[in-house]
Amino acid sequence: MSEDQIMSGASEAAQRQVRVQLTSQQEDIALPESTGPILVPTGLRRYALSTLVNNLLSSEKPIPFEFLINGTFLRTSIDEYLIDNGISAETTLEIEYVRALIPPLHIASFQHDDWVSSTDVLSTTSPAASWASGATVKKGQERLLSGSYDGLLRIWNMSSETIATSPAATEGGHTASIKATKFVSPNQIASAGLDRTVRLWKYTEDEGGFAGKIAPQLELYGHKSGIESLSVHAKSNRLLTGSSDHTVGFWSTKKADAPAAPESLLPSSARNSKRRKLNSSVSTAQRGPLSLLSGHTAPVSAAIFDAKDATVGYSASWDHSLRTWDLVTGGLVDTRTTSHSLLSLEHLPELNLLAAGTAARHITLIDPRASATTVAAMTLRGHTNAVVSLARDPHSTYGLISGSHDGTCRIWDIRSTKTDKEGVIGESVYSITRKSLEEEGKADSKRVGGEGVKVFSVCWDKTIGIVSAGEDKRIQINRGEGVLSSKA
C-alpha cells in the first residue's frame, strides 16, 4: 500500500489531513489499482480534488470531476463535510468521483404562436435515428419537432427556422391541441392530442434541408378522450398512448397491421350539427388500435415501452397507480399504487427503476420488478409544482431530467441522495429556468402556479442538449458547455 503525501503548501501542511480512497465506476477515468488511500488536507474543495485526480490520472486535458461521499455531492470543503456529518478525520473516506455535469447554458429559444405541449429531437444520437432503416440523419442536420396547442406540428432546424409545418385541421391535420409528438423515424412522425386521434405523418425534406413537408399518412382512432402521452417503438412499429379515457392504447404504425377504425368514433359519425364543419378535405386512411388496455380508473397520463423489452409497457395514471402491461397478450402484469397522482413516467433500464413525476411536486422512483419490496425506492424533491415530463440523461445511467409546471427543468443524479425519515430523498443537481422569464427581467420572481412558464415537455439528446417546451410558447435549448467535447 503506497501512501502519497500531498503537500499543497506550507500553510496547509499544518492543517488536518484525512485519508481518502478515490474510486470511480467508469473504466476510462478509473485510477490504477495500485493507488491506495491518499492523505489529503481537509481544507480541499471540489476543485482542488478535481485537480488532484487529474494529476493522478495524468490526463492531458483536465476533466472536471464531481465527488460523491456517501451518496452526497461534495459542495463544501472536506473539513466542513466531516464536521457536518460528524465523521472522524481518522477514518478513510470513500470518495467516488464522476465527471462533472457542467451547468447547462441557454443556447436558443424558438418562438411559437401558441403553447408548446411537446417536443422531440432528431439527431444522430436520438432514438429515432438509431431505429432508422432507410434514411439516416447527417451530423449537423439535427431537427427539432414541436407539437403545439394550436394543433400544428413544426419541424425546426438548429438555426431557429421552421422547415415544415403540419397541415391545418381542414387539410387533414389535428382538429384540437396536440399533446404529444415523437419522431418514429427520420421520415415519420407520430402525434396525438385532444382530438383523441393518433396521427402518423410522412416527413420529407428537400435536398438542401431548408424546406420539408409533413403529409398525413394514417389516422388512428380508438380513444374516447384526449391523448396525453405517446411512446414509440419503431423497431416493432408499435405505438403506446395514454389517454384521459383511462385506457392505454397500443397501436401499429403499419397500415396493413392495424385493424379498422371503430365507426362510432370517426368524426363523420358525430352529431349532424352544422358546426361540425371541420371535415377534412383530405382523406387519410383511418385505423383502429391493436388493443386498448383498460385497468386504470383515472386518466392515464403516461405510457411508455420498456427500454429493453418492447413487449413490456408501463403506464402511469392519475389513479395513483403504475401498471405494467404485457403488450403481447394485452394483460395487466402488475400494479404499483403510490399515494399521489402520477403525471409522467420514464424508464431507467440500467437501474431497473421507473421514475414517475407526481402531482405532489416530486418524482418517485419505483422498482417495477416483482421482487421489489417497497413501492417507492427513492423520492426526488425540489419542484414546486406538478412534474409532467421526464427524460433520461443520455450521458449517464444515473441522470434524469424533469420538467414541471413550476417553470423549471431540474437535472437529477440519483446517486446524490440522503436518507430522511420519509425514505431516500434526492436533490436536484441543476435547475434550468425559462429564458422567457429572464428576458422579462423577472428571473427571480416566483410565478404562482408557474403561470405562463409551465414546462410541458422535456427531451434530452446527446447532440442537441436539453430541449424543453412550455407555456411561454417556446422551445428552449440548453446545453452543458463542454459536455460534448469531453464525451466525444
Binding site: Y149, S264, P299, A359, T384, H405, E451, K454
Partner: protein, 769 residues
C-alpha cells in the same frame, strides 16, 4: 564631672536664674546673661533637648511668652551680626556717623554699588565732558569737546558735507553699512526687516498681523456664564457681606444674649410628638423558623462575584455578540438580569436605572401576593384540548396553487370540476362560460351566453355517461354540451337533452285558466342559432334570476333557487326534470320565518330536498311530501351549505356544513341536534361557499371567503354513533386578490383527488393541490 555634665548643670542653673530674673530683675541683666548662655550652649541645647523633660520646655515657653519680641529678634539675628556692618537694612539711611580726629561727627556715606537694578548707569566713555558750556565755543575747532579720557571728540560731518559724500556714493538697496558677523559680508536688510526695525523703534509689536486695537473681549464681566472660564470657586475676598443679613444676625445675637432665643432646645419635647407616628419594623420579631412546606425561607444569596463589580476583570465583560444576544432575549429568559459593565471607577457608576421599575414590581408582588391559601388545580392545559391529529398526518390536502386560470374579464362567479376530473367549467361577470383543461389551465371552450347578465352559476351534470353543463345567466338556465368530448359521449349527451322535446310536445297545452296564473311553469325552448353553434342545447326561461343550481345525483333533476327578495315565494324554488323538459314549483307558500330561500340541495342518497333560507335549513321528504327537519344554524344569513357525501350510508346520520355571511362555518350533525355541533369562526369576512369533498375517500371540506382566502378542513365522520365528527383546520390558502370587497366566490373539489378549485373576484380561478 565631664564638661558636658557641667555645662548641663550650668544650663539648668542659668535657666533657673533666668526664670527668677524674668520675674525679679531688670531687662538688661537678663538680656546679657541670656545672650551669652544661649550662644555658648547653642550646640548642646539641641542635644539636651532630647533628654530634657517636658517641664523644661514648658519653662522655656513660658519664658519666651513673657518676653517681648525684641529679645527674640535679637537672638534671631545673632548669626547675621557681621553682615549688618556692611549692608544696611533697606530703607535705612546709608550713612554712618563717625567721630573724626577732632571729635566732630563725620558722615560717612556708603559706597554706592549700582547693581543691575540700579538707575545709575556707567558713564559713556565717549560722552562729551565739556560740561555746561555752549557748544558754540568749539565752533572754530574741528572737535566739539573731550571725552572722559581727554581725547578729542571730532565734530561729526555736517549735513551738507554728508549729503555730498552720500551723493557721491551709490548705495545698494538695503545697505546698512554694517557687516554681518556671521558671513563677514556687508549686512543688507530687506524691506521686511527694515519694517521690523521701524516697528521696534516705534514701540510697536513687531510681529505681523497683530492688531493693537482689537475689540476687547470681556472675559471677566458681571455676566454669569454657563460655562465659566475658571472652575475655581469664587474667592472669599469677593464676598460682600450683606448688611441686611448682618442686621438679622445681630438681631439673633441680641435675642440670644437676652435669652429670648434658646439655641439648644431640650430634646425631650420632640419625642412625645413623634410617638404618634409608629414605624413598624416588619422583621423586628423575625426568628429562625424550622423548614416547613408553608414556610420557605428566603434563599441565601451568594456573595456578589466579579461580574457584579463596577470594574470587573475583562474576561467577565460581555463582547458585542453576547451583549446583543442578551438584549434580544426575553427579559424573563435571561440568566442574569444585568450585564457586567466596566465603569472604570466608582464615581462613574450611574444611578440604578431600573430603580423605579424594580420598586414597582416589588410593590406589585406584595400587592398580588395571595393572602389566602389557594389550592391550585394542577392540570396540563394541553390535556384539556381535544386530541386532534396533526395536519401532517392528514395529508393529502391542497397546500399550494398549481394552476391559475386567467381569461375571464371581471369576477368569476362560479366554478365546477366535471365528473371525470379533466375539465373545469367557470362562469363569470363577462357572461361567458368557459371550459378549461384542469391541469394546465388551457382554455378549451368558451361560449358567451349573455351580453348583459353575469353567469351566476355553472354546474356539471353528475354521471360519466354524458357531459352536460348547466349554467344560469340572467333569467335563463342554459343546458350545454361542450364540443370537447368524443362523438359517442357527445351523442349520448345530446340524446339525453333532446329526449324531452317529444315529451314536452305531447304534453297537453296549458288551459286558458292555468295560463293566467302567475306560477305558470315555463316551457323549455331551443336556443338561438349562435348559441346552438356554441354548444348550448336547451334554454329554460325562468322569470326570475336563479342564483343556485344543484343537480340530483342521478342527473335527471336539478333544483334552482331564485333568491332575489322580489321573487314570489311560489316560483323561487323550481325543480327541473331533464328527461321530460319539465319545470315544477314545489312550494306554493313562503317558508315560514327566515326570509327568502337562498340555496337548495338534494340529499346524496335519499329523496330529501334541503332548502336553506336566510336563517334556517329545512329538509323535505319528496316522496312523502313532508317537512322532515328544520335546522337552526344560528347564522343570520346563510350563504351556502353542503351535505356530507357519505351521509346516511357510512354513518347513521347526516352531516351538513353551513357557511354564512356573518363569517361563520357551522357543522351540523342532524341526529345530534338542530343546533350546530361546531361553529368555526376563522374568517374575517363573509363566507361565500362551502363544499365537502365529493368522494368519500378524502374527509375534507373547504370554504371560500370574501377575505380572499380558502380554508381547508379535515372533517371525518365515523360510522360509530357515539363518536362525533373530528374537525381539524388544515390549511389557509391565500392568493386571490380582494377586488371590490369580494374575495373568493365559489369553490369546488376535484371528484377524486384532494385538489380544489376556487373562483376569485379578481378574474382568476386557481387550482390548489
Amino acid at each position: 564631672m565631664n564638661p558636658k555634665a557641667a555645662s548641663k548643670k550650668r544650663k539648668a542653673i542659668t535657666r533657673d536664674v533666668e526664670e527668677e530674673a524674668g520675674v525679679f530683675s531688670g531687662d538688661e541683666l537678663s538680656q546679657d546673661n541670656l545672650d551669652g548662655a544661649l550662644s555658648d550652649n547653642a550646640n548642646e541645647l539641641s542635644e539636651s533637648e532630647d533628654e530634657s523633660d517636658d517641664s523644661d520646655f514648658e519653662v522655656v515657653d513660658d519664658f519666651s511668652d513673657s518676653e517681648d519680641g525684641e529679645e527674640e529678634l535679637d537672638s534671631d539675628e545673632i548669626p547675621s551680626d557681621t553682615e549688618e556692618d556692611r549692608k544696611p537694612a533697606p530703607g535705612e539711611p546709608n550713612v554712618r556717623i563717625v567721630k573724626d580726629a577732632n571729635g566732630n561727627d563725620r558722615y560717612l556715606y556708603d559706597e554706592i554699588h549700582p547693581d543691575d537694578n540700579s538707575e545709575y548707569s556707567e558713564a559713556d566713555e565717549n560722552a562729551n565732558t565739556i560740561g555746561d558750556i555752549p557748544l558754540k565755543f568749539y565752533d572754530e575747532y574741528p572737535h566739539i569737546g573731550y571725552d572722559i579720557n581727554g581725547k578729542k571728540i571730532m565734530r561729526p560731518a555736517k549735513g551738507e558735507a554728508l549729503d555730498a559724500l552720500l551723493d557721491s556714493i551709490e548705495i545698494p538697496k538695503g545697505w546698512t553699512g554694517l557687516t554681518d558677523p556671521a558671513t563677514g559680508k556687508p549686512l543688507e536688510l530687506s524691506q521686511d526687516e527694515l519694517e521690523l526695525i521701524r516697528k521696534v523703534q516705534m514701540n510697536e509689536v513687531p510681529s505681523d498681523g497683530y492688531d493693537p486695537y482689537e475689540p476687547l473681549v470681556e472675559w471677566f464681566s458681571s455676566q454669569k456664564e454657563i460655562m465659566p472660564l475658571s472652575a475655581a470657586p469664587e474667592p472669599k475676598r469677593r464676598f460682600v457681606p450683606s448688611k441686611h443679613e448682618q442686621k438679622r444676625v445681630m438681631k439673633l445675637v441680641k435675642a440670644i444674649r437676652e435669652g429670648r432665643i434658646l439655641p439648644y432646645k431640650a430634646p425631650e419635647e420632640k419625642d412625645e410628638k413623634e410617638e404618634e407616628i409608629i414605624n413598624y419594623d416588619l422583621w423586628a420579631d423575625e426568628a429562625e423558623r424550622p423548614d416547613h412546606v408553608m414556610h420557605i425561607p428566603a434563599p441565601k444569596l451568594p456573595p456578589p462575584g466579579y461580574e457584579e463589580s463596577y470594574h470587573p476583570p475583562a474576561e467577565y465583560l460581555p463582547d458585542s455578540k453576547e451583549r446583543k444576544e442578551w438584549e434580544q432575549m426575553d427579559p424573563e429568559d435571561r440568566e442574569k438580569d444585568f450585564l457586567p459593565n466596566d465603569f472604570g471607577s466608582l464615581r462613574r457608576v450611574p444611578g440604578y436605572e431600573s430603580f423605579v421599575q424594580e420598586k414597582f414590581e416589588r410593590c406589585l408582588d406584595l400587592y398580588l401576593a395571595p393572602r389566602v391559601r389557594r389550592s391550585k388545580l394542577n392540570i396540563d392545559p394541553e390535556s384539556l384540548l381535544p386530541k386532534l391529529p396533526s395536519p401532517e398526518e392528514l395529508k393529502p390536502f391542497p397546500t399550494a396553487c398549481a394552476t391559475v386560470f386567467r381569461g375571464h374579464k371581471g369576477r368569476v362567479r362560479s366554478v365546477a370540476v366535471d365528473p371525470t376530473g379533466i375539465w373545469l367549467a367557470t362562469g363569470g361577470d363577462d357572461g361567458t362560460v368557459r371550459v378549461w383543461e384542469l391541469l394546465t389551465g388551457r382554455q378549451l371552450w368558451s361560449a358567451k351566453l349573455s351580453d348583459e347578465d353575469a353567469i351566476n352559476v355553472v354546474r356539471w351534470r353528475p354521471g360519466k355517461d354524458a357531459v352536460i353543463l348547466a349554467a344560469a345567466s340572467g333569467d335563463d338556465i342554459f343546458l350545454a354540451v361542450p364540443p370537447i368530448v368524443d362523438p359517442e359521449i357527445e351523442k349520448a349527451s345530446l340524446e339525453i337533452l333532446d329526449a324531452g322535446w317529444g315529451f314536452a310536445a305531447s304534453k297537453p297545452a296549458p288551459s286558458a285558466s292555468e295560463e293566467g296564473k302567475k306560477n305558470n311553469p315555463p316551457t323549455w325552448i331551443r336556443p338561438s342559432s349562435t348559441l346552438l353553434d356554441a354548444g348550448v342545447c336547451v334554454v329554460i326561461p325562468l322569470k326570475y334570476v336563479p342564483k343556485s343550481i344543484s343537480w340530483h345525483r342521478r342527473g335527471d333533476y336539478f333544483v334552482t333557487v331564485c333568491s332575489g327578495a322580489s321573487t314570489p315565494a311560489s316560483v323561487a324554488i323550481s325543480i327541473h326534470t331533464v328527461s321530460k323538459h319539465l319545470t315544477q314549483f314545489p312550494f306554493r307558500r313562503r317558508l315560514k320565518g327566515g326570509g327568502p330561500p337562498q340555496t337548495a340541495h338534494f340529499h346524496p342518497s335519499k329523496p330529501i330536498l334541503f332548502v336553506a333560507n336566510q336563517r334556517s335549513i329545512r329538509a323535505y321528504d319528496l316522496s312523502r311530501q313532508l317537512l322532515v327537519k328544520i335546522l337552526q344554524p344560528g347564522a343570520r344569513w346563510i350563504s351556502s351549505f353542503d351535505i356530507h357525501p357519505t351521509s346516511s350510508s357510512a354513518s347513521g346520520g347526516d352531516n351538513i356544513i353551513v357557511g354564512s355571511y356573518d363569517r361563520r362555518l357551522l357543522w351540523h350533525d342532524l341526529d345530534l341536534s338542530q343546533r350546530p355541533y361546531k361553529t368555526l369562526r376563522y374568517h374575517r369576512k363573509a363566507i361565500r361557499a362551502v363544499k365537502f369533498h365529493p368522494s368519500g375517500r378524502y374527509p375534507l371540506f373547504a370554504d371560500a371567503s370574501d377575505d380572499g382566502s380558502l380554508q381547508i378542513f379535515h372533517g371525518s365522520v365515523t360510522g360509530d354513533m357515539l363518536s362525533n365528527a373530528t374537525i381539524v383546520p388544515l390549511k389557509v390558502l391565500k392568493g386571490h386578490k380582494i377586488t371590490g370587497e369580494l374575495g373568493v366566490l365559489d369553490i369546488d373539489w376535484h371528484p377524486r383527488e384532494a385538489w380544489c378549485v376556487s373562483a376569485g373576484a379578481d378574474g382568476t380561478c386557481r387550482l390548489w393541490m
